[in-house]
Symmetry: D3
């Protein structure tokens, strides 16, 4: 059975227990996560064969990260290993009005030293039914940007659909290139894009007054792009957000239900849960409306899960779309 | 001083820490709980002499369960021990829209092998001021159903008031009998019943358009039943419920205050806390109105307690009835 | 650089994990805290040189309390050590409608045996830019009351501004004196007071219909007092409060924004965080309006911090005043 | 069935996790323990009906201590409650060459305010088959010493055998009396004594060159004393001790096996486990040799148990006496 | 690449923290383990492709057990799922003279309902380079015994070497058959056997005065059996064992180094680590001497690992064989 | 009062709980440590005024590391802050024959970017009574090596004694220079050196048949060096080492007692505890014999302490030198 392929770095995630601040922490909880692998991990949990492509240090932490992916059901047989380090990110859970914080210590990761030629994309794409990338990869190093481009080109050659999460972050992009030099080529060959107005401004140089007009401009310039989606988050507090989403399919702008998210457990990875939902909808040939609602419910439920990966089942997500079992005690 | 007697199985309760899902759990918290014993444990905490009748495996887990009851102040001297296993239930705390889940692994427990003749009800009822049973017991095995019937018959013979929590659960009842073959006799000899419209439909074959009319039909057919009460729960999310309750005393339908329960800690056992409140009111000769408010406040406060048993004091419950000290910091 | 000086007892704080009740607790979390030291610890975290004056047992717990203050950045070189015990307070975190509770076991602490002459206030005040005391100290023992008076007199002699948090607690004051015999002298020499209508009634014998008129009466009788502030708390539940504050500066009554505090993490020390904010504003020569808003935001954010001390930075507090970054995920 | 009665204070035991020092501890583990109650708790675990007499504060910690005893199976119905505090002791587990340390904070406990007349010894002794006291009780206060004397006198009157663990600790005895003013009367009415040469020197004024000659002198002066036993401990390190014991029965000095205790888990309460073993042997009419070996094996196994109370079963202890199952994996 | 195939049940392992007894445990640590899967998990960690065949409940615990195997690198694609339960075993870690204990609650597991025809052995054996079974499987149910026989027959047909760990446990074998009715056929078709004198007595009816003569008798009767190995354990205490091993290869009896195992962390699964070492040696074409030393060192190092599976690397095991790096701090 | 000054990097220390391997760890314990700061932290705990010089990132982890030093009593007022990262080291505690492991992730730390001119050594040395450096600092970067040289030169100019712990580690030294290019100058200006035969070979190019002859050659070539000391460790297992030490004072070779260290808690930092003991002896004008025994006992006791810093008191160390209180329970 063909697989969803994701490409990207995976980091050690070190989070403070409960609501402790970094300076209070006596312990960090250890997990392994990365935006693109979070997507395939969710898909694997939903029964979709998936594989992640990355490069890890050949030490115990590379091994632990591999095991974490494998536990999720993600195929790790294409992972490369090298002598460098594993990136780390530190997470301080906010509470109430106090913001959550992430401190990255990810430079010089083994993945950032990836180079074209290290991966046999031709072979991989023969077994692929989807390729997913995000804007984090081309932001890390020239090598990573080159490998990302190769992957997308190979996917198109093999008629494998491509999704990209633009995920623009200014603090990355420190190797000398600007997003506008790299991102347009990657986006132009993608079928499905997650991004918002500021993403398009920073990565495509497109200014637009709202999401719909931005989408239209993007699609006009990039005919390969068939669908663009984005989430909208309102932060009442760290413990209380509202989330919704929109999808433009070239014709109409679809809007999803809005979820009131009180008592948030962990919001990191919610965007990846949304992305996974979009891919799931596409692979299951759901309608655009159903896809968007599934992806938004996936995003909403991720806030109730500890860690970066949405561990809710398809049944749970679909029940939420139908407003069933909400907050029940199921015996 | 005479005692409240409860009869029923007690299981090992294994719950995931924080909001972890079952597949994430590295540890389970261990407690020992059962619907009927939860009632006597709460009553013992309120100063009411109480004893629980059950059958445990004669191993360390039977011993641990005995110690847990004893810690609560429940008399354990009538407990039987046999060679079988202790039932287990696994609890995954929900959060936000994600439902909570209980997985039972309770078949073939030592209690399910209980048989008539094992317990000297005559002796026990001479020291009893109340008998409490629930619909879980007759659902477990023919032996348990028979013992439950014997207990109730003995209570009536000794003029000991009887309460029954119908607690209908379809997944139980796997030993060959249907509720309608067993439950009517048990209910017909009970003075106080907790149950709702669907309970009466499944266990008495009574269809009714609402709680009040159901109660009237039940009481007409079962003249021993003097009071019927039920709780009403609205689930906004796993973290936010609203709870209220009603009591029909043969004359009028009383309605309790509604409590807005945000930030729920643990809802398991809330019904048992309600039941305990009803029995407490009866034993203290409270008015029906006061009894219902006390029981509802007990039910509400249980949601703020970790574990199955309401550990709030009479003073705390009565203060909540009066809207005092709500959410204060008492020094 | 001159220092803020605080005087007062510091206790071992033992709190139950999560929402466990005292009788359930298998572990207590250990911290060291006291109302006045909480104030200087917050100020030290904001870059204000600070020192705390107290008396500890010369055992490991006195050493641990010293280290806790030192970790916060508070100068501990003036701390005295004696043969007695460290006071303890036990904290049970409430949840929902269930109240939080503090049980004190603080009598006969080493601090309560402090006596005039033990501390060279003259030397300390030469290095001081502020003195902070609270009504807890004079409530503990005659010696503590005498030392508090000496400290304030010395501060005035050296033109060091004085703040006092009246903090009236009936359960203290067990050494034979009544607040009205002791507090008026201490208040009369203070520049800034935190207190409310009942504080003034109990400690100054002043009855007033509201805060503003109470302030006017206090200031008339105590011309040294230039500013009086107080917080207002509304308890919807243990997990949900609303907090605001007022400041009377002799001319007008200023009112701060009201914060809706859902999902409270730990409310203990919120008053101390408010006090610290007032002193910070004064030392930074903020306007009264800005000082009040800073102090109120500090108080609000403290509810999102585990432990007694506000660990939020000046930048975080100022952002909340401006309604920025509320509940965001900052990368 | 008649009960073993113990009299004495019970404290909150707060111990550091793992091998942390006091100044490192972020958490303390909470237990409730006292030398005399440790004895009855072990006996109750072995199926001997037991009751403990003490006085607790009428707060949550007195309630928690009561529940801890009840969990162990000890009858708590005679416990008194008063307004004072619960004593506390802090335990730092040593390791290797580093010693373990206990810091007591037990003065002014509710028990220390016990007074003659508070307890109806006549009634209690009618249900008693044994009375156990230790030298800690008369060291705490005049009232406690008086109550201890009353208890022993009442026991003798009712022909209830009495055991006393001399347990001399210099740091106690701060209320004005010296051991030599109090202890001789208590010892003179006891049937079985645990104590060593220095205990007899401090509490009876008897100097002796060795244990046997001390025993002879004690018995000569105190004809009621029929048996004296003591343990001998060699400390290679905190993790490695050797333990043995001797018993003098008026005729011969019996010596028990020596146990090599490597990898010690918790040595606190080992003497109480020895005492419990002696009483068990007496109640079961074991020979002196068997009693001594049972008591010594109980003492040895206590070192493998977390907490103050020996939780090993009679079967486990008897197996160790026979050198069976040592260090096995029993399935 | 061809795989090592193991067949057997996997249970939830619930162990008490630290040295707590079952009755003290507030938490259980959760792992998933089974004798045969422990073998393939170790092999997978050493880079040997491996797959486990079992049957799990189709609930969250079957999913969690699958994920645990997958994390270890074991192929889980052949696992079956059914409606029944997952077996559980409870582990109490001993300490010092106190024995460790395991309580099984494994009856009626989903695996015990396995039946011939459920697994396509023909297909599996085409991809297999080794089959491993143990005497636990045929002890569980007739169906499991039948499936085990089928697997071995299929392996022989495909010329796949077979290893069997006799692992005789009297408490199993409750479905009506005796070991002597079932085991001889299974052993007779195995190439490599782990077992000792009592195993052969119970499962083959062979009495022998020592291991060597037993081996000779077994091999004479079962010409397919080429190698028989066994470990020898001396228990000084739960924390201190000595371990060695022997291997008879039809010609000579080889004896491995003896390891002095002080400070044991977890001995469960040590036999499985030995078995894995034997298979590894066979697959790597090591000499019998080297294989035995590797397997024994693997067994020894397992005692230093938490959980059932040996997580030490080939390099670590080989270093121990050479007495290198023992107890060092490697930077 | 003048201070001991240490210079060096401080890292975040992340260690696995209990005996978990890196790949098993769900949590890491967080501490902050560095070889040179460990020395001053121990000295501060013994009452010696001490300050540490380093450069931290100006983020929460730099702040947390500062607070950790401050908690220990080390003066942190000279610490610099810059934009880079904090180094990390991961620690896996070994057990039995399994070795402990440290994985460093320390390149590009803020300290490695330190440059001459950043620190005013002249001012610092005026307040100094001792300077301590180690061979780790010059191994990190040219800037660090230069700053280390400046510090030593400044110390000599101000007649401040200098100690250096050669601490040769091959894996460091990656910035282009070799130890022999850098270390000789630093050693030549130090009064007291800790190092062994291989250290001198790698850092001074001196080959010697034993420690004594190495010392003589070092001292001949470096007349400023007055004392050279080293520890000798024998590893029976990770849980059992033997430790001793030697000191050559130019005249004779002194040998310390050998300590048998069974049940090791944490060996990291034992060398730093030895170094701290040597400095303490020098500052207290102990004899060479007493200094060596104090330092060796400090080193031995460190193995009983969790974390890098010896938290044992001078009294505890001196008692061990005298063989007192070893493994006792001190009340």
């Amino acid at each position: 059975m063909k697989k969803v392929i994701s490409l990207g770095d995976v980091m050690m995630r070190l989070s403070t227990p409960g609501h402790a601040r970094f300076v209070q922490a006596e312990n960090f909880q250890v997990r392994y996560a990365g935006s693109e692998a979070n997507v395939t991990a969710a898909l694997a949990g939903w029964g979709i064969p998936s594989a992640h492509i990355t490069r890890f240090p050949e030490n115990d932490f590379g091994r632990a990260a591999t095991e974490a992916l494998r536990k999720s059901g993600v195929d790790t047989t294409h992972i490369l290993y090298g002598p460098e380090r594993l990136g780390v990110y530190f997470l301080e859970n906010g509470a109430m009005q106090r913001a959550s914080r992430i401190v990255y210590d990810r430079f010089d990761s083994a993945f950032s030293f990836i180079k074209p030629g290290m991966i046999n994309w031709n072979e991989i794409m023969q077994q692929a039914c989807w390729l997913h990338w995000s804007g984090i990869t081309p932001a890390l190093s020239q090598g990573a940007a080159d490998v990302c481009l190769q992957a997308i080109e190979s996917a198109r050659k093999h008629h494998v659909p491509v999704s990209g999460d633009i995920n623009y972050r200014r603090n990355l992009w420190q190797y000398g290139k600007q997003p506008l030099e790299i991102m347009p080529a990657l986006i132009s060959m993608s079928d499905m894009i997650v991004g918002g107005v500021t993403d398009f401004e920073n990565c495509l140089g497109i200014s637009a007054k709202d999401f719909e007009s931005a989408c239209k401009t993007v699609m006009k310039a990039n005919p390969a792009v068939k669908k663009i989606a984005t989430t909208t988050r309102e932060s009442i507090s760290s413990s209380h957000n509202k989330i919704s989403a929109q999808l433009f399919n070239g014709k109409s702008l679809l809007k999803a239900k809005t979820y009131d998210l009180t008592h948030i457990v962990d919001r990191v990875g919610a965007g990846d849960a949304f992305m996974a939902g979009l891919i799931y909808g596409a692979l299951q040939a759901m309608s655009d409306v159903d896809t968007l609602e599934f992806a938004t419910a996936s995003c909403a439920l991720k806030h109730a899960i500890e860690g970066d990966v949405n561990l809710c089942s398809v049944e749970e997500i679909e029940a939420l779309v139908r407003d069933e079992n909400v907050g029940k005690l199921l015996r």
